[in-house]
Symmetry: C2
Subunit: 326 residues, 2 copies
């Protein structure tokens, strides 16, 4: 049985998906959110980092005592717990130069952004094209910017931001240009880009941003979203006129359909190396204690919409961790 | 100036797009349909076949007297005329083993289906995957089936049909399996396919078929449509759950945005060779006279929805052409 038990989860993080699953925000979401086969409840939490307690007989790559991290799975219990069972194919060793709480902030956002850019939109390394990332200072937006700039080496990575603080953060995270989220078409025209804007990644409010995305997208461009919406308007958009591709990215598709789950472990192993080499920075900004109260506070923070980067939770004293970005 | 004048259009065909442009069916279609820069009217007609009368100074590939065919362009006047000006990059020599009217039935459907399968969904030659084509006996559906089976060599090409006549025709056109359009999920489950159903091509009623397409589509599959719809329902579909790609195919995108127009000429040249080798069959089924009355009759036939394959119009005596498929 390809599973590995993690002794004492050392840290986790809270993502918008945690809040949505807890609050059952999705009116008509795939059944598998909040669904662990055989149980009538689900322990919340996706991202986690901890120490391996024991491994299944078939597991060769990990052993008791290894420090690991993972994005979790919608069909297993989550990381808001002392012990957690995870699929060994979906985990990797923790970067040595990050704390547990910093590490726990990375996997779900990284895998989501990586799948969106590399697998769904199939952006090529060194492609002479621009990408626009909606909500550059958000959790997924800030790792997507780094993947676009430092892994895929795109010449132009535009993000949307709203105030000086988020603009500064997004530029640290890889944005070559930022535009105000309310003035996207006009400000992008002003940039007078030398390469076509072929890729647009919606990490926030699909319904609001889809029409404007079709306006600025190049013909035959691709738009990817991770935020559910009830329907897509087509009239009044240029989706058909430009033969645009729209694609959903959902981290849960692989674990639910049992397809290529090992790619999650591989992506996190690649991420470990990139972090250790200093190519990728952690977007952790704030630490809460990993307690019932800390989880409530972190959920409230995410629900407020004002977060920059990622909020982590740690079993250790939060004061000992500081901030990844001061 | 890269243009070539065609002396006396010898034949044309009527496609659903001709009917929609004439009847202004599209409530909110791209401005460029029915739009010839500088003129306040547009001569109807896309597909055409005829003889070159004269060429522009820059044109090297064609000369007066050449027999050619083409899909036309939304920003030029159409083929329902005696003389027509076309872009030399978008034309090719007529297959020697087809009549003008048979030839004129091919280009718009072929380019649309080719762009949909090869460029938009990026199906690979010999891929171990299945494709589902909605409306297998239609103009685009019947060439798409041939591209999928004989050019891309997919092992499984499923089409939807409704009656014995359309089922027989679709099988002649490359379908390896047919299913009734009202019983798609159940009949596809029964096929017990050995390869994943990764590609779905909607050539009819996007609004009706999108939800059922998401049910039968494999995770990470792709759905392409050529039929405009006001909006896409997302709730109640499995588009997000399966991280499905949706992409529009519109032949007019290249000529309107002046992008890669020469690909249309190249596709038709490849098609000429495939037709002459007998790999691809013409889907022409019926001939009308190329007169005002003949055009009205052909438009009525297409509007009725009962067409099989393609209806062509010829300046010669229709009785002399017979049917490509008896």
């Amino acid at each position: 049985m390809k599973a590995v038990a993690v002794e004492s989860v050392k840290a986790c993080s809270v993502n918008p998906i945690d809040v949505k699953v807890r609050a059952k925000v999705y009116d008509d979401f795939p059944d598998y959110y909040n669904y662990v086969p055989g149980d009538d409840y689900q322990i919340l939490g996706y991202d986690g980092a901890g120490v391996v307690e024991a491994v299944g007989d078939d597991v060769k790559d990990f052993k008791s005592g290894d420090e690991v991290y993972y994005a979790g799975s919608p069909i297993r219990h989550g990381s808001n717990a002392e012990l957690q069972l995870v699929d060994s194919l979906s985990i990797a060793r923790k970067p040595t130069n990050l704390s547990f709480v910093q590490t726990a902030c990375l996997p779900l956002t990284w895998i989501t952004a990586y799948e969106a850019l590399v697998e769904r939109m199939q952006v090529k390394v060194g492609e002479q094209a621009a990408v626009l990332i909606i909500n550059g200072a958000g959790g997924v937006g800030s790792v997507a910017s780094q993947i676009a700039r430092h892994v895929l080496k795109l010449p132009v990575v535009i993000t949307t931001t709203s105030r000086q603080e988020t603009t500064d953060f997004s530029k640290q995270m890889g944005a070559t240009h930022t535009v105000n989220h309310r003035e996207i078409p006009a400000q992008i025209v002003k940039l007078d880009l030398a390469v076509p804007l072929k890729y647009i990644f919606l990490t926030h409010s699909t319904a609001n941003y889809l029409p404007v995305a079709t306006k600025v997208c190049a013909p035959f461009g691709k738009i990817c979203s991770i935020v559910q919406t009830k329907d897509f308007p087509q009239y009044g958009t240029e989706m058909m006129a430009k033969s645009i591709t729209f694609v959903w990215e959902l981290l849960g598709t692989k674990p639910w359909y049992k397809t290529d789950v090992e790619s999650h472990g591989k992506m996190l192993e690649e991420l470990r190396q990139l972090v250790e080499k200093g190519v990728v920075k952690c977007h952790h900004t704030q630490t809460f204690p990993l307690t019932a109260k800390g989880l409530r506070d972190a959920h409230e923070m995410v629900e407020s919409g004002g977060s920059i980067g990622k909020n982590g939770l740690s079993v250790d004293d939060p004061a000992a961790h500081g901030q990844a970005f001061a």
